[in-house]
Symmetry: C2
Subunit: 321 residues, 2 copies
């Protein structure tokens, strides 16, 4: 590919060879091999150089794209001045959506998104500098952050009940958390030991709910299918879950209240990290006005935020959607 592009740019195999520090014959062989691989002729060879065929013209931008991809791939792991690495708690959850919004707002900033197993690993990776930031539910106080790692609350996300059309709560405007006792809540695809699972374990324990946080994950589509067809199964999702709403399924997102379970996302980063994109990300995330749920809220003990407890509206706030 590199040789092909060099030959196009040079217009002649000879000068391309010089530029690549190989012989003209090697260029000829490489191009011939590429043409044989593809099964089409890329150049017409003339006495004063090589001219692209139509196939060659079509192929050229793809070749350039490939070289660019190779360059970016190598750059993504090059130590020093690499793209910003952000860890999100799950690709299909709100933080992933937030980071994607950031990417859309600043497409020129190189961004790599990873998902580590557990908040501890994520915090450790931030501390060691392997990643630049993480979006996790480790808001203080309650857990000690390592020295040099800072956190700021980004989004207090209210959970909603996700049910099919035949479910008991399908037509409810809002559901009190206590009324979920005895109902089966299904949260597949979680891994033991992450704070995501710990959240639902504590939520279930606090209100006596039956929340299955284990079981194999066959993907969000399978989950949606199962929920849609079941009159007893439900799951927790949020407004910001970045999923493609399936057509044909009559699925509903029912607000929860008294209290509303809150998933408190925070951004964590190393104080001395000089990456310029990190500042941009922090500004972007804090600028986006965080959801401010009405009524009573609940968050796990290890993640209580300032906003916990009753707020302005004293009680029983209805759905806002």
């Amino acid at each position: 590919m590199r040789t092909f592009v060099a030959a196009v740019d040079a217009g002649r195999f000879q000068s391309a060879a010089a530029r690549l520090s190989i012989t003209q014959q090697a260029v000829s062989k490489r191009v011939a091999a590429l043409e044989k691989d593809l099964g089409v002729q890329l150049f017409v060879r003339t006495a004063r150089g090589a001219q692209l065929t139509i196939d060659g013209q079509v192929f050229l931008p793809h070749a350039r794209a490939l070289l660019l991809a190779a360059e970016q791939a190598a750059a993504s792991v090059r130590p020093g001045r690499r793209a910003l690495r952000v860890d999100v708690v799950g690709r299909r959850l709100a933080p992933a959506g937030l980071v994607r919004d950031f990417h859309r707002a600043h497409p020129e900033i190189g961004l790599d998104v990873v998902t580590l197993f557990g908040a501890d690993a994520a915090v450790d990776a931030v501390r060691s500098g392997v990643i630049d930031a993480t979006l996790r539910a480790v808001t203080m106080p309650g857990r000690q952050l390592p020295d040099g790692v800072e956190a700021t609350p980004v989004l207090d996300e209210p959970l909603r009940l996700f049910v099919g059309p035949t479910h008991e709560f399908a037509t409810a405007r809002a559901v009190e958390l206590a009324r979920l006792v005895g109902h089966r809540i299904w949260m597949p695809g979680n891994i033991r030991g992450t704070e995501w699972t710990a959240y639902y374990d504590e939520l279930g324990a606090a209100f006596g709910l039956t929340i299955d946080t284990i079981g194999p994950d066959f993907g969000i589509e399978a989950l949606l299918d199962t929920i849609a067809d079941s009159s007893t199964l439900a799951t927790f999702l949020t407004d910001r879950t970045p999923l493609v709403w399936p057509v044909g399924h009559d699925l509903r997102l029912i607000p929860l209240c008294d209290p509303t379970p809150i998933y408190p996302h925070s951004l964590l980063w190393r104080t001395d990290n000089p990456h310029p994109a990190l500042t941009a990300l922090r500004d972007h995330l804090t600028a986006a006005a965080p959801d401010d749920p009405d009524g009573e809220t609940w968050a796990p003990s290890w993640a209580r935020t300032r906003r916990c407890g009753p707020t302005r509206r004293p009680k029983g706030a209805g759905p806002r959607r």
Copy 2:
């Protein structure tokens, strides 16, 4: 790259090797070589397989993108069921913009854009099936299309005068074509023998204008710079020229009238071409309402369209912008 991705997908070098029909040792060597190239460790080797490091996680999507690019590159020239190939008269002219709009409206349709030298070559390429369609100024009647090639007018594009702030016509609301006699018009970057050059040659001859269609092309930016600083030089552009308007330059697009020069773009394709995307492109282009210039218009003799000559408004229509 392929081996790396296979190893990630399999989770173990052994099964990746089986899938690739090579030995486990070969996989080990390949991954080791890749890690050495990149200078980072991609896997942590455990007793029950290979787990991605953080660097590996970051690298993985880039590797997949690279493989996808390679696949698309090969597919772009694979005979039979390849992406739609469209020839446009110039990358920075209106047809390129039209095709780009089509791509934005249908991003799922594979599209390859090429530029051939001259309408004859383009028509020939359409006839032989090497490309699927061309956007050219070869509207009938006046030239005979080969059997099996059909054409439809797509856009009658009115030319405008592009001048800097110190030019004589900089403040004019519209300029009659006859008033350009004696002024120097510069149209660099054209190649002899294309219908693009022929157009300006005939336009110049018909009205006694001085149009330089030769000379080296240093890019549109250089052209803009030169025009901006000159009080005598001007060039022809159109509203739809897909260029990035430079900040800092006070450049103007002045309408032309009595008559307004029209550049008549047509879509040409082979009648028996079954490519489904071709139908979509044709529909998209004919659905976009073509510009309908007011007042008297002019087109070269070899490209007279139905719309030629005086239309509804009898004379001296002003600028529409």
